[in-house]
C-alpha cells in the first residue's frame, strides 16, 4: 500500500506486524543492539527518528566495496573504476526502485539537508541568472519581486532554514501554514496563504515530532493550482512506510540514507525528470560537466549535474544493501508494509499506555492511523532533558529537546519534548520499558 491519498492510510490488510520470533531474528542482524550501556544495562534504542541502526548486511556491503572494488566512480577506465561505477549506479537503481522512481530521477547527496538546500538554491541561482542574463533560467525557478515561498510551522529546520535563507538571498517572502491543536496542518490556511505569488510549497510528509502524516496529495494539488512547485520532506516517511514518490504527485522529495538502515553520509533527492532538467546545478566541479572552458562550462544531464566531486560510493553501496534488507523484511517484497504495521503497533501500544498517565501529555494526532513511527510527549513538571537522562540511566535511548523543530515546539508552548521513535527492530517489551522508566522519572522528580 502506498500513501498517495489525503486520507489517513487504511491499514494494509495483508501486512502483519512482526511476530516476536521475527523481531528477534531481525534484531540479531544489528550488532549494536547486543551492547550494554550505563553499567551493563541492555541498550533500548528508541531514537531511530534521529538515525537508525545498521544491519550487518549494510556494514558488510560497504566493507566489501572498499576491500574489493574501491575506485573513483565515473572517472576511470580501469577494472576497479568500472566495478565501482557499476556498484554505484546499481545502488542508484535500487534506491530509486525502493521509492517507485526511475534510476535517473534520483540524485545522491550527503543527507536530506543537502537535498533541500539544493532545491532552495535552484531558485536563487535561476533568479540571479535571469537578472544578470548570465545563463538560461527556467521560469518556474525565477523569483520576481513579491513572490512567496510557503512552508509549514511543523517543519524540521532542514525544511525551514534553507527557505528562510532563500528569502534572504532573493527578497522573496516566507509564509507558512499553521498547525492545529491536535497536530494537523491547518488546511484552512491553504486558501489564506497560497496565492499566485506562491512559487514553492515545501512540507513534510511525516512530522518528526508529532508523527502526523500530512495530506500530501491535497497539498501538492493546492500548490499546483497556484502554479507553485511542491517539495516534500520524506525523511520520516520513506524509512517507515511504503512510499511511491512519483505516485504522490509531488515534484521533488528529500530523504536520508542514515535513517533507513543505511550508512551516514548519503542522502537522496528525487525529482521528476523534467523538473530536475529545469534546475540549475548546485555544487559544481568534477563529474557534473559536459564541457569546461575557462570562459564558461556546460553541464551533464541530471542526475550527474547534481553530483559534483568524487561521490560517497561506499555509502551508496551500503544504502543499496539497506533497501534490499528492508524490502526483504516481508515475503515477496512486502517488507515496508510489514515495517509499517509493526511500527504502528508499537506506536499504538505506547499511545495507549501514555493515555493512562495523567501526568503525561502527548503531542500530535490521537489515532495511530494518522501517524508515523514517532511519539513525543511532555511529563508534567519535569524537563524533557531530565526525563531523557533518567531513561538513559535505564539504558533507554530516546531523544529530548526541540528535535530541530523549534517553531513547532513554540507553537505548543513547550521548550522541549521527549521523543520515542521506532525502527523495525524495536519490541513490545521496549515500549513497556519506556513506560516503566517514566514511572521512575516521576519518583526521582516527585
Amino acid at each position: 500500500m502506498t500513501l498517495s491519498s489525503t486520507s489517513a492510510p487504511a491499514a494494509d490488510t495483508a501486512a502483519e506486524p512482526f511476530t516476536d520470533a521475527e523481531v528477534a531474528a531481525i534484531r540479531a542482524d544489528f550488532p549494536i543492539l547486543a551492547r550494554t550501556v550505563r553499567d551493563g544495562r541492555p541498550l533500548v534504542y528508541l531514537d531511530s527518528g534521529a538515525t537508525s541502526q545498521k544491519p550487518r548486511a549494510v556494514l558488510d556491503a560497504e566493507r566489501d566495496f572498499y576491500e574489493r572494488h574501491n575506485a573513483a566512480v565515473h572517472r576511470g577506465a580501469h577494472q576497479l573504476a568500472e566495478e565501482a561505477t557499476d556498484a554505484y549506479e546499481a545502488a542508484r537503481a535500487a534506491v530509486a526502485g525502493f521509492v517507485g522512481a526511475p534510476a535517473d530521477e534520483v540524485v545522491f547527496t550527503k543527507n536530506a539537508t543537502e537535498s533541500l538546500n539544493l532545491v532552495a538554491h535552484a531558485f536563487s541561482s535561476a533568479t540571479a541568472y535571469r537578472a544578470l542574463g548570465t545563463a538560461e533560467a527556467d521560469d518556474r525557478f525565477v523569483l520576481r519581486p513579491g513572490d512567496e515561498v510557503v512552508v509549514t510551522e511543523m517543519e524540521h529546520h532542514a525544511n525551514l532554514v534553507p527557505w528562510q535563507e532563500l528569502c534572504r538571498r532573493t527578497g522573496a517572502t516566507l509564509r507558512w501554514l499553521g498547525v492545529t491543536d491536535d497536530g494537523h496542518l491547518d488546511l484552512a490556511d491553504l486558501d489564506r496563504v497560497l496565492s499566485p505569488r506562491t512559487r514553492v510549497l515545501a512540507t513534510t510528509h511525516v512530522s518528526n515530532v508529532l508523527g502526523t502524516i500530512t495530506p500530501v496529495a491535497e497539498l501538492a494539488a493546492a500548490a499546483h493550482r497556484v502554479g507553485a512547485l511542491f517539495v516534500l520532506d520524506a525523511c520520516q516517511s520513506v524509512p517507515h512506510l511504503p512510499v511511491d514518490l512519483p505516485g504522490l504527485g509531488v515534484d521533488l522529495a528529500a530523504f536520508s540514507g542514515h535513517k533507513m538502515l543505511g550508512p551516514s553520509g548519503v542522502g537522496l533527492l528525487w525529482g521528476r525528470a523534467e523538473v530536475l532538467d529545469a534546475m540549475p546545478p548546485f555544487l559544481t566541479g568534477g563529474s557534473m560537466i559536459e564541457t569546461v572552458r575557462m570562459e564558461g562550462s556546460t553541464y551533464a544531464p541530471a542526475p550527474q549535474k547534481f553530483e559534483a566531486g568524487v561521490p560517497m560510493a561506499a555509502q551508496a553501496v551500503g544504502l543499496h544493501a539497506a533497501v534490499d534488507h528492508l524490502t526483504a523484511l516481508g515475503a515477496d517484497g512486502t517488507g515496508m508494509a510489514r515495517v509499517e504495521a509493526h511500527e504502528r503497533r508499537l506506536v499504538g501500544r505506547l499511545l495507549d499506555a501514555l493515555g493512562e498517565l495523567p501526568w503525561v501529555r502527548v503531542l500530535g494526532p490521537a489515532g495511530t492511523a494518522e501517524r508515523g513511527a514517532v511519539v513525543s510527549f511532555v511529563v508534567d513538571d519535569v524537563h524533557a532533558h531530565d526525563v531523557g537522562q533518567v531513561l538513559d540511566d535505564d539504558g533507554i535511548a530516546v531523544r529530548v529537546g526541540h528535535h530541530c523543530a523549534w517553531p513547532l515546539h513554540r507553537r505548543f508552548g513547550v521548550a522541549a519534548t521527549t521523543r520515542v521513535s521506532f525502527g523495525p527492530y524495536n519490541t513490545v517489551g521496549e515500549v513497556d520499558a519506556v513506560v516503566a522508566g517514566l514511572h521512575r522519572v516521576r519518583e526521582v522528580f516527585a
Partner: protein, 143 residues
C-alpha cells in the same frame, strides 16, 4: 544516579533567588541552542561587590539548580571572587569526572560534579554562569 543528587533536586525545586528584580546594572539573555532553554539574568553591583543576581531560568533541573547555586555563591561577594568561583565551577564541570570540586569554593555546587560525566548536560550547568560572566562584562563597561 549521581547526576540527581538530593541537593541538586532540592535546589531545582526551591531555587534560591529566582525571579527578576530591580534595580540592576546589566541584564542578559542566554540560550542553550541544543535544547532551546533560556535564562534571563540581571546583575546588580555595588561598586566591586555583587549586590544581587536575579534570574528567570526556563530549563532543566540541572540548569535551575546551577542558577540557584550561583545565586548562593556570588551574592554579597566581590566580583573577583565571583569570577574565581566561575572558573572553579567550569573546571569541575568540564573535567569528565576527574575534578570533584572544592567544597570550600563551590559550596553546594560540588553536588553538580556528577554532571561532568554527561557531556550533553555540561552546557545546562554552565548556562547561568556564562550569563553571569557576560553580565559582569557588560556592567563594567561604562554605558
Amino acid at each position: 544516579m549521581d547526576l540527581y543528587a538530593e541537593l541538586i533536586l532540592e535546589h531545582s525545586k526551591r531555587p534560591h533567588g529566582a525571579g527578576l528584580r530591580d534595580p540592576f546594572d546589566a541584564e542578559v539573555h542566554h540560550v542553550n541552542p541544543t535544547c532551546g532553554d533560556e535564562v534571563t539574568l540581571r546583575l546588580d553591583l555595588d561598586g566591586d561587590t555583587v549586590r544581587d543576581v536575579s534570574y528567570d531560568a526556563l530549563g532543566c533541573s540541572i540548569s535551575r539548580a546551577s542558577a540557584s547555586v550561583l545565586h548562593e555563591l556570588v551574592v554579597g561577594r566581590s566580583v573577583a571572587d565571583g569570577l574565581a568561583v566561575h572558573t572553579a565551577m567550569r573546571a569541575m564541570l568540564t573535567s569528565r569526572g576527574t575534578d570533584p570540586g572544592d567544597e570550600d569554593v563551590l559550596g553546594d555546587g560540588v553536588a553538580l560534579a556528577g554532571v561532568s560525566r554527561y557531556p550533553a548536560r555540561v552546557k545546562c550547568a554552565l548556562l547561568s554562569w556564562m550569563a553571569f560572566t557576560d553580565a559582569l562584562g557588560r556592567a563594567s563597561v561604562p554605558a
